[in-house]
Amino acid sequence: MNHCVPDFEMEDDYAIPASSSARARKSARPEDEIMELLWRNGQVVMQSQNQRSVHKNCKYDAVIPDHSRTPASQLPPQPGNQNPQLFMQEDEMASWLQYPLGDDDPFCADLLYSDSATVQSNNAAANPPPISAPLSRPPIHPPMRRTELQNFLHFTRNNNNNKSRIESAAPSGSKSVVRESTTVDSSDTPLVAPCSRVMDSRPDASNTGMSMSGGGRGVTSTTATSFGATAAASAGKEAMTCEMSLTSSPGGSSASGSASAEQTWLQKPPPAEDRKRKGREADDAECPSEDVEFESASAKKQTRGSSSTKRSRAAEVHNLSERRRRDRINEKMRALQELIPRCNKSDKASMLDEAIEYLKSLQLQVQMMSMGCGMVPMMFPGVQHYMPMGMGMGMGMGMGMEMGMNRPMMPFANVLAGSSMPTATAAAHMGPRFPMPAFQMQTMLPNDPTRGQATNQSEHMLNSLGTQNPNQSQMPNFADPYQQYITSQQMHLPLQQNQAMAQPSTSKQGSSRGPEHHESHQ
């Protein structure tokens, strides 16, 4: 669309000073010059573009004389947006045209005319003018392409620096693009190339692009997307694809502002974009929602001006990526919430808190159970030393599922044999016996009511331990001595603990001693 052009022109890339003067110059020029301008819009009119492009790719430099100040800004003020647009478009095309300058003059003229005509129609349904054929290089497709291209150029320029990241995204884009571009993929112009690519694929891309992005902005974005697609398809020109992919991102955000966001977003969107491109239908299905957003946003942006447009586009893209990311996270939070029993929290932070505690309690529970499993078959009195070690080792967070290994739970058996107390009591006794300073159960204490009965007993045990031994770092130490004890029975440290722990009757004392031992060990 024509309005696209203004945006492009308005791009804050270059400050366009005396637009009026330039305009005057342009108007002053004779038709042929104008044509020339048109033809060379890239160079003349689009001075800004050219200049920019010059910076990037000095392809255009040859053509443009002195119209340094014919920035895009001039164009809009000029009567008839089309002129500027034309120029803009022309510029794009001009850049391409430069190469075939000599040959394409008549061609260009036709092109210009056709462009002008098409320009009016902007984004006319891909009607690539025949010019493309003659123009081997720059596929001069209908103006809409140009506009798209311009936009695209804009993007590309902006995205040049983003190429690196674009490239990564490009491949993905390219795949889908392949089918898009067919007309003139050969466009080689570096900067233009992408554009030309875009142009080529315009018809297709534009369609998709259009679908993608609706309004003017959309055009650019679509162009970019299509462009990227085609570019990728045509030549795997990473730069282009990169840019395309960039643009392809929903908002076709010129990465300038939201580079990072785009990057992250690109990683996601490119595949998504590819999928979209691959399946037009899919695109149509997906794009509508996005299109609506883009269109409205783009429309707004266009009215605000190019600079704000760019930023808003970038912000748009960023917002989209952010939204996707948030959706993913919310989805996972919901899944987590389902796993946690009796979780009635809707707040993220509290839910995460509960998840953490539940996870700890679950780990503890598993440890206890595995310990119990190991204990039962190993029941035999006398081996009192093991108990504290086993329990101690199992309880540490770091221990994870070590208890699951069914170490000889002698201590367990010991305790059991020694005392015929009721379950709770036994648990209580067992608790103090365990030199488990590293009890994360402590954190669970406040959650007892919430956890219900499930972990009460274990918690009870742990609580007692926890209170006695707040020092969690001792856990690993227990493990080592335990192992040594098992193997060589030469660890006196565990023995001391065991002795302290072993006696059921002196369980309390043992527990008190246990921690002391542990601490002394430490």
Partner: protein
């Protein structure tokens, strides 16, 4: 959340974000396979995902262990202390 700029750091969101970041890191510490990974590079969604799978694994383990304990319970004297312990474990 952010309209224009990437991030609008207002008062409340930043507080909550910090909280959440901390919780996510805590969660990461709990999940064994994510404990030693390089930090700050794992996205929250990945942490949540790993946590969910880990919790499911733990559930499965608890079920297996409960079953085993039940079997053990059947083999031992129901009045013994071990039985009591086992029952307590299963009841959890």
């Amino acid at each position: 959340m952010s309209s224009r700029r990437s991030r609008q750091s207002s008062g409340s969101p930043s507080i909550k974000d910090d909280q959440i970041i901390e919780l996510v890191s805590k969660l990461r510490q709990l999940v064994p396979e994510m404990r030693d990974r390089r930090s700050d590079k794992v996205s929250a969604s990945k942490v949540l995902q790993e946590t969910c799978s880990y919790i499911r694994n733990l559930h499965r383990e608890v079920d297996d262990l409960s079953e085993r304990l039940s079997q053990l319970l059947a083999t031992i004297d129901a009045d013994s202390a071990e039985a009591a312990i086992i029952r307590s474990l299963i009841m959890q």
